[in-house]
Structure formats: structure tokens, C-alpha cells
């Protein structure tokens, strides 16, 4: 479930990136690389688990599935927070700079 959730996050962020390309002011590309990197790594993890568990890998208990889904959503949230921090620090639109150093009349 963690792998699936991350793959869906990677697909959605890639679609959003493609829709706005070549504009990259929101730095959605960062999200794409991050989620695809994590998806590939979890895919490797899943393959090793499959080798160990065989068909049992595809029959997790509902409690395990729920816990893994909860973890997947948390991973997506952590990824979004990392992206937001990078976006605010790099500030490609200059919004943070403008808000902080705005002259008062």
C-alpha cells in the first residue's frame, strides 16, 4: 500500500508538472523526482519481499493494509512538506521576498 500510494502521488505530480510545463515556478518537478525515486526504491523492496513471501505478499491482513496505507499517506505528506520548504526557500516567484521586505506607506 505504501508503494501504491507513492506511485499514485508520483503520477499525479507528473501530470501536474506536464500540464504546466515549461513553466516551473511552482517547482513541481522536485515533487516528481522525489516521489519517483521513492517509488523505485519501494518497488525494489517489494520485489525482495515477494521473493521471500511469494503469494503471501499479495494477501496482507486488513490491519497491515490499513497501517501501510496510513504510512503511505504520511510519506506523501512528508514529501509535500519538503517540497513546500524548498519552494519557500528558493522562492522562484519572489513572493516571500516581496512579503518580507514590502515597504510600508
Amino acid at each position: 500500500m505504501t508503494l501504491l500510494t507513492t506511485i499514485f502521488a508520483a503520477i499525479i505530480s507528473t501530470v501536474i508538472w506536464y500540464k504546466n510545463a515549461p513553466e516551473s515556478q511552482m517547482m513541481v518537478g522536485v515533487l516528481c523526482w522525489m516521489y519517483w525515486g521513492a517509488s523505485l526504491m519501494w518497488m525494489v523492496d517489494a520485489v525482495y519481499e515477494y521473493i521471500e513471501l511469494h503469494m503471501a505478499y499479495f494477501q496482507p491482513s486488513p490491519a497491515d493494509m490499513l497501517n501501510d496505507f496510513y504510512l503511505g499517506l504520511s510519506v506523501v505528506a512528508v514529501g509535500l512538506v519538503i517540497w513546500l520548504v524548498i519552494l519557500l526557500i528558493k522562492d522562484p516567484k519572489g513572493v516571500v521576498k516581496a512579503a518580507l521586505f514590502k515597504k510600508k506607506n
Binding site: 505504501t2 507513492t6 518537478g29 522536485v30 523526482w33 522525489m34 516521489y35 519517483w36 525515486g37 521513492a38 517509488s39 523505485l40 526504491m41 519501494w42 518497488m43 525494489v44 523492496d45 520485489v47 525482495y48 504510512l71 504520511s74 510519506v75 512528508v78 514529501g79 519538503i82
Partner: protein, 135 residues
Amino acid sequence: MACFIVPAAEAVISTIVEKQLKKSEGEPQAVQVVSEEAGIETVERIPFSRKIHWLSNMLWGGSGLLAFEHVWHGEVVPWVPFLSAAGNAADRLEMLREMATVGVTMGVVVTGVWLGIVAVTSAMEKKVLLQAAKR
């Protein structure tokens, strides 16, 4: 257990290589392309440092999120030695085995996918530059 350490180490290396390349690279080669939709456009060859940046992003992002998963499962702890498996010899051996198998495969797979992306973008670049040279 600690498989994310291998791609994280690769991310450190790729970031260092990227910074070094950025310093040594000059201005990217630029050509003018005439297209029916956009008219005359200037197209720049993608510097190799930017391509390595894609790899760094995947490795940092992936290992960062995997590290979070390890915190979730109690495998990374906020006290020395920071990895719960490093506490006793048997677990340490298992951790090293996992790093050597799963961790190394993760690095290889991410690098392999990146090489595929670089090959495709390089082919697209060549096509655009050839078209520009013909005109």
C-alpha cells in the same frame, strides 16, 4: 533495516560530482530553432550537471522518504548509534546483508532508470540540434 543508507551515500557522491561539473562547465550550446507554432526559438543543450541533478533529486528524495519509513518502523532512533539494528551483533550482520542486497539494488535501479531518461533526452536533443543544423 538501513537499506536507504546506500542510495543516500550515492546521493552525496552525485551531488559532489554535480557541483564540480557546474564549476567546470561553460555556457551551454544554444541554437535557434524555427517552429510553426512558436516561430524562432532559442534552444539550449542540457548541461550534464543538470542531468546529474535529476539523479541527485531522485536519490535524495527517495532515500529521505525511505528514512521516514524507517523512523516509522522504529529502525532509525534519535539516540546513538541511531540504527536500532546496530545494537547487537546478529542484527548488525542482518542490517549489513540488507544494505548489500536491497540497498545496492535500489541504487542500481534508480541509476538505471536515470540512464534511460538521459538516453531518451539526449536522443531528443540530437534530433532538435540536427533539425536546426539542416535549416
